[in-house]
């Protein structure tokens, strides 16, 4: 192939990829905007939000509880071990752990868990409806697919993310406390000290939970709506949803934490 044609092909490939990326970004924005409008307008199937809250929230309780519980135990065990070697003072372990749990770990770790369970579920369900033309059938029936499929999951996910984050924080803190007391003899009255947690920490944690709760169904729904082909397309959409949601959680954590650090500074 002559060099001129090779350069032309390379430029075409870059151009095509750029256009694909822009079109995907535009579609993601459109899903987000339509979901917000749909949420405000309140047009959604009756009882669907409650059903989704049960699926997203209640069915994730054990998963989130066990995961956050183990993480709480491991973190406290490791922290006590290291602090014991360096200073030998474990009196502020609970005080500091409570702060970091509330403003960061609880919502972020809960969201990481939900990105896998809920994100995959939403993408698989919406994706299989897309490839079997059920989404087209909804459009033919005069139903906006985003109102019907994404909005109820969006509302349910935002609410249940906050609830599960609080639940996860409590489980991790309590099991961490039991670990500290049993393995290192930390006084429980000293450990269960919530005086360090203030409204700033609560606000930051709540902001993160809401942001993650919004991001997971939007990204997963977007991946599902872009599914093509057959079961292979649904599989790819599911994988993309888990990766995309987890990535979004990490990026949002960074952005909101950085914002918190800049605005609140030493307050954290």
């Amino acid at each position: 192939m002559n060099p001129r044609r090779r350069i032309k092909r390379a430029i075409e490939r870059v151009g095509a990829r750029t256009l694909d990326f822009l079109s995907a970004a535009l579609f993601l924005w459109s899903v987000f905007a339509h979901t917000l409008v749909g949420t405000i307008r309140g047009k959604r199937p009756k009882g669907e939000v409650v059903k989704q809250m049960y699926i997203i929230g209640n069915k994730s309780l054990v998963f989130v509880g066990v995961t956050l519980g183990f993480i709480g135990m491991v973190m406290i065990y490791q922290t006590c071990l290291q602090f014991g070697r360096i200073t030998g003072d474990l009196s502020r372990i609970g005080h500091e752990f409570a702060k970091i749990l509330v403003h960061d770990f609880a919502p972020t770790l809960t969201a990481m868990m939900l990105s896998t369970r809920v994100g995959a579920g939403i993408a698989a369900e919406v994706g299989s409806m897309k490839v079997t033309e059920q989404v087209d059938a909804l459009r033919m029936s005069g139903v906006a697919p985003i109102d019907y499929l994404i909005v109820p999951r969006f509302i349910a996910c935002v609410v249940m993310m906050v609830v599960l984050s609080i639940f996860g924080a409590v489980v991790a803190f309590v099991l961490g406390g039991l670990t500290a007391a049993n393995a290192f003899g930390v006084n429980t009255h000293t450990y269960f000290d919530l005086s360090g947690v203030n409204f700033t920490h609560l606000g930051l944690g709540l902001t993160k939970a809401v942001a993650y709760g919004m991001a997971i169904p939007i990204i997963s729904g977007y991946c599902g709506l872009r599914a093509q082909g057959s079961s292979e397309g649904v599989g790819s959409a599911t994988t993309a949803a888990v990766i995309g949601s987890s990535f979004a959680v990490i990026v949002l954590d960074f952005i909101i934490s950085a914002f918190g650090l800049i605005v609140l500074g030493e307050g954290l």
Binding site: E133, Q134, D136, A137, L138, R139, M140, S141, G142, V143
Partner: protein, 251 residues
């Protein structure tokens, strides 16, 4: 003409599917669109209801150009043009009655109780009244297909698009679907556009047939025009021979 496709082109990425399809459809006729798998038959009819957008060309419906309409502007068109999808596409979480009532509630703004009563009538028309409370998963393919037809007819559309309506059905169910399509055209005056590979259906109920090959309408005419065509590609399709001049995507 109630529907007219004028030189439409459509590509999916690098794959050019339609390369200038031009086709007119008269009111009240049963028009079959035939061709090999992957040639763009379903793609062609989906443009008519805005489920896909053409790259270039024009689509006219009842004197109005519709290919440039927005999603919301397509809603009234979708009240007048219904579609029965290949896989029935009933919603699993709803009973048959609720499935059939959905377009009435959303398009016509009908109240739930009235929409459900109307749905019962439609299900009776396709002999599915006794299964109104069943969920789609509990029914056979043929029954689901009939319920999907009832859902499409519930808005009393002027045009109904059928995407491979007899695929996957036993011969008896397939002929019942054929009869239903013919009756729609004869008794209600509904225009029916049927995408199909089923030669029995094609040569039993069609008024006209459009054969799509290599992204264009290769031949359009009545049953006799197809039976007596000397075109080797058309003859190979009708006779179903594996060897011949026809190029099939993927083979």
């Amino acid at each position: 003409m109630i529907i007219e496709f004028r030189d439409i082109h459509k590509a999916f990425g690098p794959k050019q599917v339609l390369r200038g399809v031009s086709l007119g459809i008269e009111p009240g006729e049963v028009m079959f669109i035939i061709g090999t798998s992957g040639v763009g038959k379903s793609v062609t009819i989906k443009h008519l209801i805005g489920l896909l957008r053409i790259d270039t060309g024009e689509i006219w419906f009842d004197g109005e150009r519709i290919d440039k309409l927005s999603e919301r502007q397509f809603y009234p068109v979708r009240e007048r043009i219904g579609m029965v999808f290949q896989h029935s596409t009933l919603f699993d979480s709803m009973t048959l009655r609720e499935n059939v009532a959905l377009p009435l509630r959303k398009h016509k703004g009908m109240r739930q109780n009235r929409a459900l009563r109307e749905a019962d009538k439609r299900l009776e028309q396709v002999h599915m009244g006794e299964f109104a409370d069943r969920y789609p998963a509990a029914l056979s393919d043929g029954m689901r297909k009939r319920a999907a037809i009832a859902r499409t007819l519930t808005l009393e559309p002027e045009v109904v698009l059928f995407d491979e309506p007899t695929t996957g059905l036993d011969p008896v169910s397939a002929r019942r679907i054929d009869r239903l399509i013919r009756e729609l055209a004869d008794t209600v005056g509904c225009t029916c556009i049927v995408v199909s590979h089923d030669l029995t259906s094609i040569f039993t109920i069609s008024d006209r047939i459009a054969f799509i090959y290599q992204g264009r309408v290769h031949l359009c005419g009545d049953q006799d025009a197809f039976r007596h065509s000397s075109d080797p590609v058309v003859q190979q399709f009708i006779s179903g021979q594996s060897s011949g001049p026809m190029e099939t995507p993927g083979f």
